[in-house]
Amino acid sequence: MDGHDLDTSLEARLAAMEARAPGRDDPPRLDQRSRRGRFAVSFAMAPVLVLALVASAAAGTVVISRLTAEGHSGIENPGQPLEGAAMECMTGPEAQAFLAAHGYTDVVWQVESGSVLSADGGKGSSTTVQQASPPDHGYVIPGSVQDSGQLLMVVDQRVGATGVGACFGQPMP
């Protein structure tokens, strides 16, 4: 296949492939604000969050010997205590109050700030800060209970962030 053959066949093959791709011709109602629940479920199925540090000490010096990512079931996952809570649609303070009402008082809030994109359209940069209380501004990302018993929640404040789950694409709180 030379370059010309590729160009001529590629257009037809790509167009045919796109025509075979599944499509829907029923756009959402224009007064619709909330998204389908399925998307929330797909995010809630997975959310798990953890960093497990395994450290060893030798000759009085503590050395972090291994950093392992492990899966903890997200608190909104099916079968988990807050299944379907949709905290991703709450503000940080609302989520904090909701968690407190359900007995979750040992919570660390990991705040991501910065931007999704750089000025030239490339990958942006962000800063991560963990704190004891949630910020007023940002998308809440439901997390999971750590080995320590502490609940880790994420708040995404980055410019260009989209939110997750049931509130993907909604205005940032």
């Binding site: 796109e18 025509a19 791709a21 499509g23 224009l30 998204r35 359209g121 694409g169």
Partner: protein, 177 residues
């Protein structure tokens, strides 16, 4: 490249009226709805699965409606695709970021059993290169038009297209010996 110049004239819509409005929701739907099914299909190729494509297409449609009065009225398909593709790129970034932080996120990939070699080659391209290639090869948009849609320099688009075509050529001729 013979496709699309005639198709693109289908995308024109009514101009703003004296009140600065382009019309009611019915006018929006009449202009944008015909492009919705193809937006979903395009997003399936870009995102790699139907469910994410449908979600992003829904968002794009609603955002387009919110921005309807700011639309310049020239090419409604390009405008809708621009919104949809930018949302798709955001979603892919979010997916990658939170997959690494939160673990596996379920998604069922789409595949094309009718042309598996081409689909495998396309999937091997990053999403932006893939999008640019589709906009150029299927829709016939120029480098400058794609650059404006994807908010990147024209040279970047040229580079993506060059590398994308080279990658497809390499993959699609591999089995021919």
């Amino acid at each position: 490249m013979t496709t699309t110049r005639s198709l693109r004239t289908l995308g024109t819509v009514r101009p703003l009226d004296a009140t600065g409005s382009r019309g009611d929701p019915e006018a929006f739907e009449a202009a944008v709805r015909p492009h919705y099914v193809n937006l979903v299909r395009r997003l399936v190729l870009v995102l790699g699965n139907q469910h994410d494509a449908e979600d992003v297409a829904q968002d794009a449609y609603l955002k387009a409606f919110q921005a309807w009065d700011r639309f310049d009225g020239t090419d409604v398909r390009a405008w809708l695709y621009t919104i949809g593709l930018r949302l798709a790129f955001n979603q892919l970034r979010g997916r990658k970021r939170w997959q690494s932080a939160l673990g596996r996120i379920e998604s069922r990939p789409w595949s094309d059993p009718s042309d598996p070699d081409l689909w495998a080659a396309i999937r091997g391209l990053d999403a932006r290169t893939r999008s640019a290639l589709l906009l150029n090869v299927i829709d016939g948009y120029t480098h400058a038009e794609i650059a404006a849609m994807l908010e990147v320099p024209e040279g970047t688009v040229a580079s993506w297209l060059s590398r994308g075509r080279a990658a497809l050529r390499r993959e699609l001729t591999r089995d021919e010996g």
